[in-house]
Symmetry: C2
Subunit: 290 residues, 2 copies
């Protein structure tokens, strides 16, 4: 096998398996190449990824060591994902009677979901989550893509439990906006005590559901290391969880004027994000003059 | 940029975006390379993927043409995924009171889900589906990974509708095993008339839910081109849908004996699947002597 062929095969293998460690011995068997040759191949892949902002290739030394691909979006790429979201959400055709916003298509688009998953994984990777937790239904696609990029299991909290969930922990909580009593359940087996949990959901108004998930994780003795939501509403400004990250802020849906006011959240609209990532030019910033 | 670096970058780009076409012009801008050079790079990637059974790299000629990566599992790799599923499901620790089986962890493991998605995408790609449809909740992760590998949108049918779903089509159907009347809803916007739909779900007993989904698609004037389920039960043998593909068959859960009888379905346990894929050796087949 030529070097360029080996590099193509190793890149495919790594990118397909985010954060999964593969040993040089395994790669050697797969490709029929010596460890020293493979180490050189991996160095080329690592440098290319780094230079082009395509994520990180990490080599883990030692007997149990190997190599793995860690997805990582550059600040400019993150901002680009958020900009695409803002543009898509601003479409007045989304406005539904009563000022609701149709957004099922956003959690239905695999290419967009893959980028959102990479974004959340990049944002929370330093918190070292060991599981991603979400509540059914619309949070699931986002949570799954985030879990895939972090290579940790996904736990789906349900509104009602089924016999096949086994022993569950069921909790009542107060939805923050409607002040209704709601129920959530999670299988006892889904999260082991001590698991570092990242909560991912699609929408946050007052934050009652997120607060409920945080409390539920308390019942599992599982520390919550982060909360990420796709969209938060501007009002109420006071949310029931403090430490969270949103991608976009929905300011208002004006049914009469057929206008959706939506913008990037403060986490993805800051000047320090303007530094171009490796191999990227700083893109034009249409809202810089605000 | 050296050839090996370009090949690493192009491979990463393609594998990360299943079935998305990227033009040579775009790649050229990204990498600062001439089209002729890139064509040679892509030929190397294509041959490597083909030889090693890592999927297909397709070049689309013409002005709107370009290149794309099509995930494709070899027969041996498909059988390997199914074998892992069977082994995992046979674990007696899954047995719950009442003979139910705990399986939430299966739809919680991103690496396994990615392979299952590749498997379904491979199996149904010749039917050319334009959307994947599932019903909440446990089918969603499998359906999403399948949709990602096919690069088509996902539509999630719900048990009850919310205001943010907009106009919905709601249908009653009879669950095949419990003979209960159940309800399912889908946003009118989710599936356009004429969309070729692939239905994916996690579990099929009598097939009432799958039948309901097929009927619901009829209301959308959307032809169903395939039905894929992760697990089917052996009984009842007569299912309410005819044309479906399952990965494993759950024969029985013996609570007293603490034994789960589960096996590969006939689609993945046939002699003709024993032909090794490109670059693969035929693996040992533990159940060949049955």
């Amino acid at each position: 096998m030529r070097r360029s062929e080996r590099i193509s095969a190793v890149t495919k293998w790594l990118v397909d398996r985010p954060r999964q460690i593969i040993t040089l011995a395994e790669l050697g068997q797969l490709l029929g190449a010596a460890k020293s040759t493979l180490s050189e191949d991996i160095a080329i892949i690592r440098e290319t990824c780094e230079r082009m902002g395509l994520g990180r290739v990490e080599t883990i030394p030692g007997a149990a060591g190997g190599v793995r691909y860690v997805p990582q979006l550059s600040p400019a790429a993150m901002r680009d994902v958020v900009r695409r979201l803002v543009e898509s959400l601003a479409d007045p055709d989304r406005i539904l009677p009563g000022g609701f916003l149709y957004m099922s298509d956003i959690v239905a688009s695999p290419p967009l979901l893959a980028r959102i998953g990479e974004l959340f994984a990049t944002r929370f990777s330093d918190r070292d989550p060991q599981a991603v937790v979400t509540v059914e239904t619309r949070g699931i696609p986002i949570a799954l893509m985030t879990a895939r990029m972090l290579n940790v299991p996904l736990a789906i909290v349900r509104r009602s439990s089924r016999p096949s969930d086994g022993t569950v922990v069921t909790m009542n909580y107060i939805s923050g906006s409607a002040r209704r009593i709601e129920t959530m359940s999670l299988s006892r087996r889904a999260i082991a005590p001590g698991t570092r949990v990242l909560i991912i959901d699609d929408f946050m108004k007052a934050g009652g559901t997120a607060r409920g998930l945080v409390d539920l994780m308390g019942e599992f003795q599982a520390p919550v290391v982060g909360v990420g939501v796709l969209i938060e509403t501007l009002e109420p400004r006071q949310k029931l969880v403090r430490d969270y990250v949103s991608l976009v802020v929905l300011e208002s849906v004006e049914e009469e004027e057929r206008r959706v006011r939506v913008r990037a959240s403060r986490w993805f609209d800051e000047p320090n994000l303007d530094e171009p990532g490796p191999g990227e030019r700083a893109p034009a910033r249409p809202n810089a003059g605000r």
